[in-house]
């Protein structure tokens, strides 16, 4: 049952991913990308990470995609009329297939390390996923968390200056 559900969701994710690349109209690409994000959120739920699934839907499908769709409408981007040269398309596709084969090759050859941590489904159900994430974020990862705030501040300043000034 779980595997049937997995393969249906995986098929939807891959098909909508292909649509992102092949659609002529950027709005259609954006909506297909939202579909991909929802499928990935479903995977996160299947992997016992409900908080990450909620964050995925709110941050990616909510905030980032709204920003992208907003910019597409603001700039009045037309459907692509002139395609890129066939050389670029062929070499890009070859490189993409090469990347896929390389990763699959490593998956076939590689094996996972034997060290397994303490987190499991019972722990997630018992103490809650948000609590686990919060504990890790504010103890082991406190310094990266603070640096992230600097990154966001720099992004805010950069976005305001780039959008405002006459460049």
């Amino acid at each position: 049952m779980e595997s049937i559900f997995f393969f249906v969701v995986a098929a939807v994710a891959v098909i909508s991913g292909i649509l992102v690349v092949t659609c002529k109209n950027p709005i259609n690409s954006a909506l297909s990308l939202v579909m991909t994000f929802f499928c990935l959120a479903t995977f996160y739920v299947m992997l016992d990470a409900p908080f990450m699934a909620v964050t995925q839907v709110i941050v990616y499908a909510g905030a980032i995609m709204v920003l992208i769709v907003f910019v597409i409408m603001l700039l009045n981007v037309k459907t692509e009329t002139v395609k890129r040269g066939s050389h670029a398309v062929i070499s890009g596709t070859v490189i993409g297939v090469f990347v896929l084969f390389q990763t699959c090759w490593f998956l076939m050859k590689g094996s996972m390390t034997g060290q397994v941590g303490v987190m499991d489904k019972a722990m997630v159900v018992k103490s809650g996923h948000v609590e686990l994430i919060g504990k890790a974020l504010f103890t082991d990862f406190l310094l990266p968390f603070e640096i992230t705030s600097l990154l966001l501040l720099a992004a805010i300043i950069g976005a305001v200056i780039l959008a405002k000034k006459k460049i």
Binding site: Y44, V77, I95, L107, T113, T148, L151
Partner: protein
């Protein structure tokens, strides 16, 4: 429980599709969306490993990747607006100011 490789292969396929999109499309916004898709493929890998290794650290990393993606979206889209003001287009073929 499903094998770990199922999730990793889906993630690899999504990453490869994103690579093809970045290399073949001309519209800067579509390229940007393909980069977001590649980031998401990596996120799926992180969470799958996090579950199968019983370690929460991978999910914290996904948190940081999402933050970087949000910052990238803000700055990248501001750059596109600035470029559109100059050239009336967001086609990457028109970005040739530094070309010899």
């Amino acid at each position: 429980m499903l094998a770990l490789n199922n999730y990793l292969i889906v993630s690899a396929i999504l990453f490869a599709i994103g690579t093809v999109g970045v290399l073949t499309r001309r519209n800067a916004i579509v390229i940007f969306m393909c980069v977001e898709m590649m980031l998401n493929a990596v996120n799926l890998t992180f969470i799958a490993f996090s579950k199968y290794l019983g370690n929460i650290d991978g999910q914290v990393f996904v948190f940081f990747v999402m933050t970087v993606a949000a910052a990238e979206a803000a700055v990248g889209l501001a750059l596109m607006i600035a470029f559109y003001k100059n050239r009336e287009s967001i086609d990457v073929e028109d970005v040739n100011l530094m070309k010899l």
